[in-house]
Symmetry: D2
Subunit: 503 residues, 4 copies
Amino acid sequence: MERTESTSDSVAFNMPDWLIQFADQKREFNKRPTKIGRRSLSRSISQSSTDSYSSDSSDDETSPRDKQQKNSKGSSDFCVKNIKQAEFGRREIEIAEQEMPALMALRKRAQGEKPLSGAKIVGCTHITAQTAVLIETLGALGAQCRWAACNIYSTLNEVAAALAESGFPVFSWKGESEDDFWWCIDRCVNVEGWQPNMILDDGGDLTHWIYKKYPNMFKKIKGIVEESVTGVHRLYQLSKAGKLCVPAMNVNDSVTKQKFDNLYCCRESILDGLKRTTDMMFGGKQVVVCGYGEVGKGCCAALKAMGSIVYVTEIDPICALQACMDGFRLVKLNEVIRQVDIVITCTGNKNVVTREHLDRMKNGCIVCNMGHSNTEIDVASLRTPELTWERVRSQVDHVIWPDGKRIVLLAEGRLLNLSCSTVPTFVLSITATTQALALIELYNAPEGRYKQDVYLLPKKMDEYVASLHLPTFDAHLTELSDEQAKYLGLNKNGPFKPNYYRY
Amino acid sequence: MERTESTSDSVAFNMPDWLIQFADQKREFNKRPTKIGRRSLSRSISQSSTDSYSSDSSDDETSPRDKQQKNSKGSSDFCVKNIKQAEFGRREIEIAEQEMPALMALRKRAQGEKPLSGAKIVGCTHITAQTAVLIETLGALGAQCRWAACNIYSTLNEVAAALAESGFPVFSWKGESEDDFWWCIDRCVNVEGWQPNMILDDGGDLTHWIYKKYPNMFKKIKGIVEESVTGVHRLYQLSKAGKLCVPAMNVNDSVTKQKFDNLYCCRESILDGLKRTTDMMFGGKQVVVCGYGEVGKGCCAALKAMGSIVYVTEIDPICALQACMDGFRLVKLNEVIRQVDIVITCTGNKNVVTREHLDRMKNGCIVCNMGHSNTEIDVASLRTPELTWERVRSQVDHVIWPDGKRIVLLAEGRLLNLSCSTVPTFVLSITATTQALALIELYNAPEGRYKQDVYLLPKKMDEYVASLHLPTFDAHLTELSDEQAKYLGLNKNGPFKPNYYRY
Amino acid sequence: MERTESTSDSVAFNMPDWLIQFADQKREFNKRPTKIGRRSLSRSISQSSTDSYSSDSSDDETSPRDKQQKNSKGSSDFCVKNIKQAEFGRREIEIAEQEMPALMALRKRAQGEKPLSGAKIVGCTHITAQTAVLIETLGALGAQCRWAACNIYSTLNEVAAALAESGFPVFSWKGESEDDFWWCIDRCVNVEGWQPNMILDDGGDLTHWIYKKYPNMFKKIKGIVEESVTGVHRLYQLSKAGKLCVPAMNVNDSVTKQKFDNLYCCRESILDGLKRTTDMMFGGKQVVVCGYGEVGKGCCAALKAMGSIVYVTEIDPICALQACMDGFRLVKLNEVIRQVDIVITCTGNKNVVTREHLDRMKNGCIVCNMGHSNTEIDVASLRTPELTWERVRSQVDHVIWPDGKRIVLLAEGRLLNLSCSTVPTFVLSITATTQALALIELYNAPEGRYKQDVYLLPKKMDEYVASLHLPTFDAHLTELSDEQAKYLGLNKNGPFKPNYYRY
Amino acid sequence: MERTESTSDSVAFNMPDWLIQFADQKREFNKRPTKIGRRSLSRSISQSSTDSYSSDSSDDETSPRDKQQKNSKGSSDFCVKNIKQAEFGRREIEIAEQEMPALMALRKRAQGEKPLSGAKIVGCTHITAQTAVLIETLGALGAQCRWAACNIYSTLNEVAAALAESGFPVFSWKGESEDDFWWCIDRCVNVEGWQPNMILDDGGDLTHWIYKKYPNMFKKIKGIVEESVTGVHRLYQLSKAGKLCVPAMNVNDSVTKQKFDNLYCCRESILDGLKRTTDMMFGGKQVVVCGYGEVGKGCCAALKAMGSIVYVTEIDPICALQACMDGFRLVKLNEVIRQVDIVITCTGNKNVVTREHLDRMKNGCIVCNMGHSNTEIDVASLRTPELTWERVRSQVDHVIWPDGKRIVLLAEGRLLNLSCSTVPTFVLSITATTQALALIELYNAPEGRYKQDVYLLPKKMDEYVASLHLPTFDAHLTELSDEQAKYLGLNKNGPFKPNYYRY
């Protein structure tokens, strides 16, 4: 029988402040939309390619809620910006399909059996070409889906139109108001004659809405799949409070997804983000990286490889020792702040770079954030009268001291790789495949396998996600012989490692 | 309160064959002593430095058991080769002390409180200068210790003498018979008026002996600390069978120790082992590394850095995907076996390199093993009449095919880094510190914290081991502010990560 | 006395075809402007930042030649797009000054002596903020300057305006016709009461024009400084033909400039160019790099560091052996063309990638060129009826085979790093400093030191360029003691290496 | 026609002190034999493998000069330790042949034509298995050879015996007196009825002897091939003084040989040397490398790759800038001397590490030399009464300060890689092939191609050496098409680069 690992023991960690703070931020929804999860921005909405889409949002001021639209089959069970953009969106989806071989492979296997037959999935994620490939895969696997956006800005209208045209009830457009946001979610859930039995959430808003408005729905719901840090924490809170009434799958912390979202993706995007914004040369530059988790490890490795001299700060002695063994001087930020050319934060903490640090940096120092929120650099402390801000490029500000010293602040302290770089489709493919498999697992699990708790993706599923992506690299996996499997005490098809294995 | 993590869920893994096989090997004890754990061989007993000690073992044929020896204080509660070698052993210990700053720091802190006051520790490990620093540290922390060797060949007689001279009852010498081996263990345990309350074991023989001969002793024993893969597995077997009657600490799988024993240590020792045996040049060589766990990762990184072209084989798709992202072609062994210059096994599996592979290798191909046992290369298959073996150096055999093809087999397929390289004292320091802290934790834990189960070292202790080694690198840890700790929901002193964190 | 090294022996190399071809290309001037030297494009005219400047070129259709403009001092000895843009151009120049510390240091030292006092320099280069810093530095060193653009598209109008406003006679704008191009050059040279005595050229057009129109001018000219591959070859041709009538300095081949233009710059720009155009992930990708010169070495090192698997092709066995020792499989292109994800050319050769290769590539393969011309990929062979071209982004074409296979062709086979990336100011700083020092050397050289030949920059000057850039890295050079200098037989101030030293 | 490059311009460099000093050292010949060139020590005489040979030198005290020996063919025209050791020596030679494919390839090609037919070569080099492969190759190419050793300690007696048995007049044994040394050389040269027409020298002693004793011999000598730094300098001195009466080939500075002797070899041997002597761990260690030439570049790259933090000192601003761009902090030694764990010298200079530096190093600091002489560390300054020396291992001294501080000095400041590591046969293969080709070139050159000057190996020959070693790596060179060769202005068979190309 499949074994799974509960991470409910991590509930013992205290409720962190930033989660409480998050709730507060919700109130300011319209003013500062910061609800963008790390890994959900795709190529299609990157800085460099948004231009081509910009026209459609400006030329039509009518709210989609006030429009009457039908797709070519006559259905009007959707709400998107402009159904006529469907063809263009379809082309985007087709391109994405080419780079998401794992989902396409799932579709092929589903030609015989439909593992999601009977599933009624309500989803709330960024709506991009990659998400569309996921949604259409879920459909091919037998599921009925209804979808809303988890962010008021991130929807690609053309893609939403293409989905609507293909018969998926999508309620989402770029530039929703907060009221629109909840209206769209409600339209997904509150349908006559249709009730969801699975939830796919990114951020926890959909889950929250159902809890608040339609708690009875949980009776029929077989499980929640949640992919964001924030949403996962909300689930653990529910679990701790004894209020989680269905099994939930934390796909954020699956091995494969974590490594790609953090180590592998950031190893490339730190270089990309810095180059696109500053055209700087990396060779010979002195850099301090705050935090040596997966993100920090990726940043450090990339910059070292490009000839930068990298210093690391850490609070955790184990990660600190790793930094030492990997060839980085472990320092306190104060020790090097005067000499470095670049400061990069990857801690997930707040006020790691303070005004005091900023005051001591040298002229021309670049400051940016690769961590998970916009709190790491105390940007607010720079909003004082004696400092002048000069926007020199999109996402690049010069903050100028009275003596003429300039600090180059990127993306106003928000995530560099989201703001100034793009997330490769391959990374999104891993996330989407993980979500699909988690839905399949929860939907098909025998009664009793999962309790009302938060689970990590079973290792075997995690391994399966990885194996679906190996063909991209023409990589050939070795199979255990019977004799070897017996010797190791393993099943030939995995799982291959104990749960505590660290990779 | 300190939280700990039970790994008893890993018991669900089946009893592996190699562990059963291990039991069989015990019977051949005198013929093939392979009971050497990876990380316990020190500089002092390395290939290159044994010469200076060789004299003493040959010039005196009397068994230590038949000798009457007293140390300078008149005690004869020990059994070593030659108490007169104490001074030379003391010098070795002093040198080791310089490279084991963490234990020395523990001693300093123990000047006030004695966390092991009242502890009666019986130990069974390799007896080297580094172990002596550990034993004397345990003494300084308040413990009474009695010690035997866990291997019949690995004792440094001078060090054993120095310990005996300092008043530690040590029963051990180089070249024990199997009967001597168990006699020594028994002398540690079976003492009138003294009964152990803590066990420090390496391989499980001491634990096994007490279970078999003095099961009642467990009533007073507060816990077992075990550091070897083999010993840990035996404990899990006991636990599974419901026979584990005291808490046991698996220190083998602590993060810090694992990373140093495997990734960091092997990254260096693969180069060292290959150079010392073959004087080969790494640049441009084609190498296949079987297995991409921590050991494989270390080997691959080192060889890539030296200009080798590295191929990887794997059975686990997650590790396979990591190999791809780290820049290695993932292949099946058959695909590259004809072209590679070096084959390195790091799987922990058996018959990874078969006679068929060996038949297909090209002339001059080097074959060696960095995994945890001597089963990975099917060396037995090379003992056939048509093949000629030629010993060209210590640890280096040429196996010659009828057509003149030569395969260079290192260490007869045993661990290359143990046989042909040395383990840096720094790595041993981490192991010894981990053992000391595990003893302190188990000994001081409040009633009920630990059940009759196998535990991993509490993360906070693991972090403490790491922090004690940071000064070696002049590394400066950052401390959380109160505000930041609150924001993150962490205690300022750690633990800093959830248990499932992968590092 | 200063020793210099003539490279006239390299004249023994035959006149290469591509130089002959170059002359032919000149006739197609208006159709395909490819006269962009590798290292002369600056941040300010990069892909990502041109948008802000695009307005000015479209809103005013009057030719600058037909306009009447005066700067604030009343001078009209210039011809630029719009003198009113001077202020914006000045800001760009000031930003560039911050990143060109070496030229600023030269200005400071020139406060006492003016090494170019009396120099009348006519220049023909790309006109960018960095060039402006050079021109104004030459002015500060005592020179009078007149300037034209070496490329009809690369002028930054704002910067030209700022120079004109500051009193430098500049004749240049973005979007010149070929007639404009030569008219601008002529306006620099053909001035009443002013005759140049130094030439700074990039591509050889200015030199060519004077040879053709005003050969008598060479009587007063003390030397030519030329920085492009093309221009240097034209000089060697003149020298070989006995027609070079003044000394010329080949600054293209100075050590410092070469390393930065090629190895160090390409190491970063290959990643940047690929990311900006394709958002691809490097990890695990199979790449073949054609050519292992400095550019190839840079590309290979960067991609290997990012986790790509890199193959190399080479014709020169010495470079091939280096590729092997650096850890790359040396192959023929045919051997890997079916399996690679990316093909990069860095040979300087023609038809390295042929239609036959393109036919065999797999779906999605990316093809691009980092070499010195647009000949390496046989792009013309893709202009056949059965292939469909689809422009998917700026600089990115999909070429689609009848079976649906898509090849991703970047920049239509032109230089990737020029077309899709930017050249860091620091690299341009090294080039500009080298040019300034070459001018100073030629202008101040005692009679007879330089004959009518082509010279490399004296090593001591090359070392000086390097030393002026060390402070950027807070790098501290060690000085020889008298005793050490005597021991080594060196002057304490250099040169430190024999001419044949390879670095 | 083949073009060659005279490096006589480098004569302009002053006669360095260390060359003068060298002459002085000759007088102390018997006391301190330091005449070991970097690249001539082979595996067979490495530290770790000498033991097997030690017996023969001790059991027979008769001087070879006093013995009567004949080989199996009855010849006694040789003088070796013991002709009976020939068989064992032959086996060593056969092993070396397997790793020297380039010379074996030359032999094969020589089956038709004998390019050295008529050549009478007198040689003076280290006599090792690799040299024997060279000598026998020269024989196979048609030459007659007579050979002496260039060092009184480095001869492998078995190999000398094998050569004598095969009919080569060899005069050499391990442990010659200075008188023996010159006697052996004389026996090679001063032969009735035989006069050499080619010289192969390593260090210049043979050349010196002929100049002094038999100057008339030069009338028939067609050229000298010299491979050591010292010997090359002596030749330049002769040339400068107008006393060089035959062409000489400086093979020391050929590209291929330089890269392998320095960059590629040292990249590996620095790690090997440090590990074998100290068993230290590289990860996290702070290291300062003095000098960033090829040797320094190799050391820095290797240590950085192993996780050390590396600082560099340099006097040459160009190399300094390279160090910066490669990611190393450029410092003065004083800035880091207190904090580093390892100091490595690679400058070729003297007193780079002074007593003052040594006084300031921290406890346990390791000091070693990878440069070309034993002058870099001022070891003499450590021979003062207040410091205690303790030999802890072969080649490892602890120098102990009055306060207990210990410095770990390796190889007493002599070359670490020669003293404590081995030179791979592959590197020696490149050297030997270069020597063979230089002899062929000089012997076959048409009258007048070479004057009485010192020449570098023609680039085409250098390329040929490289190409002969490519098969070792299964490397496949690409060939130019006719069209491409024309385009590039190159001959399809090379040379492929101008002389000033830097690789």
